[in-house]
Symmetry: C2
Amino acid sequence: MPPTFDMSLIQRGARLRRSPYFDATLAAGCRSYTVYNHMFLPTRYDDLEAEYEKLLTGVTVWDVSVERQVEITGPDAFAFTNMLTPRDLAKCAVGQGKYVLITADDGGIVNDPVLLRLGENHFWLALADSDVLLWARGVALNSGLDVNICEPDVSPMQVQGPKSKEVVRRLFGDEVLALRYYWFLETELDGIPVVVTRTGWSGEVGYEIYLRDGSRGVELWDRVMDAGRDLGITPTGPSDIRRVEAGILNYGIDMTLDTNPYEVGLGWQVDQGQEADFIGREALARIAAEGPGRLLAGVEIAGAPLDLNMTRWPVRGGGTAGGNGEAIGFVTSAVYSPRLGRNIGYAMVPAGLAGMGTRLSVSTPKGEREATVVPRPFVDPEKEIPKS
Amino acid sequence: MPPTFDMSLIQRGARLRRSPYFDATLAAGCRSYTVYNHMFLPTRYDDLEAEYEKLLTGVTVWDVSVERQVEITGPDAFAFTNMLTPRDLAKCAVGQGKYVLITADDGGIVNDPVLLRLGENHFWLALADSDVLLWARGVALNSGLDVNICEPDVSPMQVQGPKSKEVVRRLFGDEVLALRYYWFLETELDGIPVVVTRTGWSGEVGYEIYLRDGSRGVELWDRVMDAGRDLGITPTGPSDIRRVEAGILNYGIDMTLDTNPYEVGLGWQVDQGQEADFIGREALARIAAEGPGRLLAGVEIAGAPLDLNMTRWPVRGGGTAGGNGEAIGFVTSAVYSPRLGRNIGYAMVPAGLAGMGTRLSVSTPKGEREATVVPRPFVDPEKEIPKS
């Protein structure tokens, strides 16, 4: 059993960058931060289940400045950006966004950003936790394409939950309510330049506000809080309970550079029908033809509620009776869902053990537990994120 | 004044990777971790000044697994690796290491690893905190060179301090004492495969042991601790006090992708005399010819001892009398040196304000302080890291 790891053990990490909203998150009583893209990410102000309830019933605000942008501009920005991802960006209009994968030449996943197309040749990638700025600049070196690649002064916050619609309406007017899923609006709030997108990492109705002037972070934060005060708006961390319920993956644990889109259920991202070439095309065609050797399965884990875990618990085949065999995979994320009353999560297992109903055994800090392969998402599939 | 930032605020960051020595560091009473290369880095077990004293007088052990390796092999590994850095690797023998910079096409610093040459076409880069694996794989894509680039199962620990020599002699025999600075030995300890290097981040005598089998981390840790028990061997974090005294820079704060070698006093790394091309050559030649516009100056900051800080305190010209002007730069690292009895650090300032004796003013959480430009390193320059 791994030793208990106390939250107080992690230092301030003074070397690390702070968000434009950082002082506001401290003042709001943030109790815990993690590090993401070399920067502090507020993870909670309250009990995780209390924050989850706020997200399901009200409106929550998350400082996700750590979603750093890579900005790609220049005459060949479209061709270059289209080469970075297996999705066909010819299908992405100006004013539209897409959830995309960035893939390496072997099909491995470099990152899974939200892409925004701000102009014919103007793109932002709102990153998960890896240095895509270095990847993109490395790729550009010998590409023969004329592009500029930088990290602009852009810092997103998420406004998520059923009452988020009313908050953004009050801030930005009715125009924002017309936004279709993954589309965005360039606007301002008393001169604070922002981009508002109909996106989020929650499976609930939600928006992101991309601040374009880092000197005005606390000002924007206060405006958003004021607009939702009578609705009970609450600052929280991103909810791992809700995102696992929704079948959403967390880059760095559920998928990494060592996994490919087909293994993690994101094969629909790979558009082999497009004319343009993209990095990893050949490898991904081969993987698709052969079928992936392992799959990230949805699992239910039996027994009493488990604490949120993303530390790769070993998995064995054959239910708990098989618990003495060799590990054949690992759980990537696991969490207790209060409304389902069950432990849910993902396990990377051999493809032959990913069939619905397959019995597995998981080594948790609370002992060996039986697990069963189930479909994901775990709740309200009809409500979940459309593939756009 | 920025709000106080309590150390207990940072969460366990379950998504983050753990070192092969992680359980040993917990058992040894590690009190604080930071995050580096997506992984936990133990930063202290005791008071920072107590750990500094142990380093100056005894022998300390640091878990620096976070120095992840990028391994480059294949028929063109030499040509490719030589292209990544402005140093001329034709001058690096097999069995030898070098402190190198990885530079981008604009001359910006991507990373400052220790490079080890394990074979004619076999290199490791022991990284500071940025995803050079992505940079190198991106650069390789259209390079036309035949290389394999991966992150191998290699996890360094540092053994630093005047008594480190005796510890490594006991573990690896007299052969290791013959190592010249930056050379290394491939060996094993009761079947645990390691590479031992005469390197370190302290300015003291020291070694690094690169573990080549992550399943044996705690075993190696225990062997090292046992070998030094009667010498008072102590697990500590890397000492920011000692490394600033030695004039050593910390990637991510003292230098970043936005700084070039000439700005931070590492222009000696750029070997324009070599025949082979390297990334950033043209930009660095231009910067050298024009002279850098700003410089990272050594500074002494007046007044009572300051806590370790790496959060970019604003700097103004003209001493405290000029403290009302516009910020013209920032302090990158500052710390109190017990043996000097002074606050020391680095400030990035316009080149015209980097001359010895120049008076500056620094905005610290303890108020406006006068600072003076002084030479670095701050102690025993004759003892400090040779340029190899």
